[in-house]
Amino acid sequence: MNDMRLVERDVSNRQAKIEARGVQVHYGEKHALKDVDVAILDRTVTAFIGPSGCGKSTFLRCLNRMNDTVASAKVAGRITLDGQDIYDPRIDPVQLRAKVGMVFQKPNPFPKSIYENVAYGPKIHGLARSKAELDEIVETSLKKAALWNEVKDRLAAPGTGLSGGQQQRLCIARAVATAPEVLLMDEPCSALDPIATAQVEELIDELRSQFSVVIVTHSMQQAARVSQKTAFFHLGSLVEYGETGQIFTTPQDPRTEAYITGRIG
């Protein structure tokens, strides 16, 4: 792992943005997440790694209550955002999701124009006071998601007409445009080429100066490159959580070591 770009790893003095305590998720009979405790720090990139089907997406969806839309999902435990329990009945999940944005594992652009896709969140939340301001938000968001150059001449074309990787970046731009405090990204680079991947990683690094970013990835290199903290999930449990450098160099748990060296997965 010599190609790892060394990012600043010292985040121990940061405050916890999201704290999860004893989170359990059941899909009907299936126990998908078992007793997960994690503290996601402010202005930090946290990577979730683990084999397919181990519950990474499930946990991510708990953090902005997207599991509310799955009828069979039952979430137990306590998750707080800035000390507020997000499953408290007084919390409106709509407001929560405006603060905790999400990029889904499968690109899901709206069947609208590229422009409308990006402008959707800002319009709903009233982030722009004029058309010019909205244009500005759309442009910067698309630039951040490294898509601007490819689509600047066809902003009126449908977002669903883009290639898979372009759609993925469109969804990133869409989430960024809403200016969330925490951004949850579920495998945002799974369909991207190395150049676009590098640009998205740059974006993540940039977002870190103001926000928390949680990224699910199957690429060890990517986790090592962009994150300061890494959590390793296995079969629904959080096996190990710690500084990225430590997880990749001196893992405590034999399962973590087996996974990052490619022996389980």
Binding site: N64, M66, T69, A71, V94, Q95, L96, R97, A98, K99, G101, M102, F104, K106, N108, P109, F110, P111, K112, Y120, G121, I124, H125, P158, T160, G161, C171, R174, A175, T178
Partner: protein, 484 residues
């Protein structure tokens, strides 16, 4: 051999074709199906098709052509004045065929011997046939009987040739298919070609029917416009047909009534249907949905005449007593509003059920995407789900509109039959469809403008719905939001 028997034999030959061609293909491939170009069953299907299809097509053509040929040969047997007029000629040949068929069945049932039948005398035909259960309208002319006898002869010969030729063609097709069969033969492509032709045929039938309808209406309409000035029809403000002549047949009052009633019915059906669909698709939980959806759909199964009764005895009086009379807008039990409301109710299940299916088909990932950006459920529904479902919803609304335009029974019972141009929705008015029916009921012939106007009305209705369809297509194209 009767047609039914021929078809049965063709079926057997087709089966034989399947088995033989498949066997031969397998035999030539040495029992190894992978050495064949196509899968073995395709060789079998090819055998069946070659045996049955050309023979069947030939049979169909023969069935159409044979009577025409026979008739043209028989018309020489009649004096020219009897076969000059088209309709007289049609009637005459109908008689000829009936007598011929009657004689055949009399022979078949043993009531007459073949010799007796051939020697029958024109005066006695009617009674003899009546005894065997074939009723003839008028006395039989000698020429007609002679033609009928000739017809029998020709039909027997024709039937024989038909059987021989059809079966020969089937056997030849079968033999040819078996000769073609071999590992190199592209059986799948052949079979798929035939299936493709079948599919294309199915799609053209609907189109051809439409063309046929238009053409038949067009010719009658042209006759109508020959008798009645075209501008008076399209721009006339009065509708008052009189069978003594001197009618005023203006389209506008009927058109107005049609559009007015349709508009009111859509004002009822679209919001209610759409809201019901949104509730069912987005908010109702599965158990409620399982009960409510079928219940709404029950409405669709009620015959429209029952709705008409509902309009007549319930909605009409209610509208009159509670709205029209108190506001002084009218005192008629039948009104545009009554018919509009009831047609609207009739159309609710169409819109709600179709829209519900369409909304449910919008992928959950789109809803997640919107909710994940902090949109409310309402924003998600109105800004993402409904636009994505729009083309389908427009289609549903369009279907309902066409139904409203074409509705007759409810209008007759709910809105009355008075053709008038009036803005007041509490007045009785009527629609194009109602007038088409009323112009054609009774003992009338298609030769006065009063009856022929029905065709002009029909074609106007057709053009209106066509424009509506084109308009809807345009809307759908313009606002289409495609999702995978």
């Amino acid at each position: 051999m009767s047609v039914f028997l021929i078809l049965t034999v063709l079926g057997v030959l087709a089966l034989a074709g399947f088995v033989l061609a498949r066997q031969r293909a397998m035999a030539l491939a040495g029992g190894d199906a992978r050495r064949l170009h196509s899968r073995p069953n395709y060789y079998g299907w090819h055998g069946s098709i070659m045996a049955a299809v050309p023979a069947m097509l030939f049979l169909a053509v023969w069935q159409i052509v044979q009577p025409m040929v026979i008739e043209s040969r028989l018309s020489g047997m009649f004096p020219p004045e009897m076969v000059q007029d088209d309709s007289a000629r049609t009637l005459l040949f109908a008689d000829v065929r009936r007598i011929a068929a009657g004689l055949e069945s009399a022979i078949a049932s043993g009531a007459m011997s073949a010799d007796e039948a051939s020697a029958l005398d024109a005066g006695a035909v009617r009674d003899r046939l009546a005894a065997t259960g074939v009723a003839l309208g008028a006395d039989v002319q000698p020429e007609t009987l002679a033609a009928a006898q000739e017809y029998r002869g020709l039909a027997t010969v024709g039937g024989l040739w038909r059987t021989v030729l059809v079966l020969a063609l089937a056997v030849a097709g079968l033999a040819y298919a078996i000769k073609l069969t071999g590992p190199e033969f592209r059986a799948r492509n052949r079979v798929e070609g035939v299936v493709l032709a079948l599919l294309m045929l199915a799609s053209t039938i609907a189109i051809l029917t439409t063309v046929g309808i238009v053409l038949s209406m067009l010719s009658e309409s042209i006759r109508f416009f020959g008798m009645y000035p075209i501008q008076d029809f399209f721009f006339g403000l009065t509708w008052s047909p009189a069978f003594q002549g001197n009618s005023q047949l203006g389209l506008l009052p009927l058109l107005w009534g049609t559009l007015y009633i349709t508009l009111i019915s859509m004002l009822v059906a679209v919001p209610v249907g759409l809201f019901a669909a949104i509730y069912l698709a987005e908010f109702a939980d599965a158990r409620v949905r399982a009960v409510v959806k079928p219940l709404i759909e029950v409405i669709a199964g009620i015959p429209t005449v029952v709705f008409g009764l509902f309009a007549l005895v319930t909605v009409g009086p209610l509208v009159r007593d509670w709205i029209a009379m108190p506001t002084g807008l009218g005192n008629s039990g039948s009104s545009v509003v009554t018919a509009g409301i009831v047609i609207g109710i009739l159309n609710i299940p169409f819109i709600s059920s179709l829209s519900d299916d369409i909304i449910t088909a919008v992928p959950q990932s789109l809803r997640d995407g919107s909710l994940g950006l902090g949109a409310t459920k309402a924003e998600t529904v109105t800004q993402v789900v409904l636009p994505a479902a729009l083309p389908g919803i427009v289609g549903a609304v369009l279907m309902a509109t066409s139904r409203a335009i074409g509705e007759t029974m409810i209008v007759t019972m709910g809105a009355g039959a008075a053709a008038q141009l009036n803005l007041n929705p509490f007045e009785a008015m009527t629609t194009i469809t109602v007038k088409i029916v009323s112009q054609l009921t009774g003992d009338t012939e298609f030769n006065s403008p009063e009856t022929l106007v029905a065709f002009a009305l029909g074609i106007s209705l057709f053009v209106i719905t066509l424009c509506l369809n084109v308009f809807a297509l345009w809307i759908v194209r313009k606002y289409r939001e495609q999702y995978e």
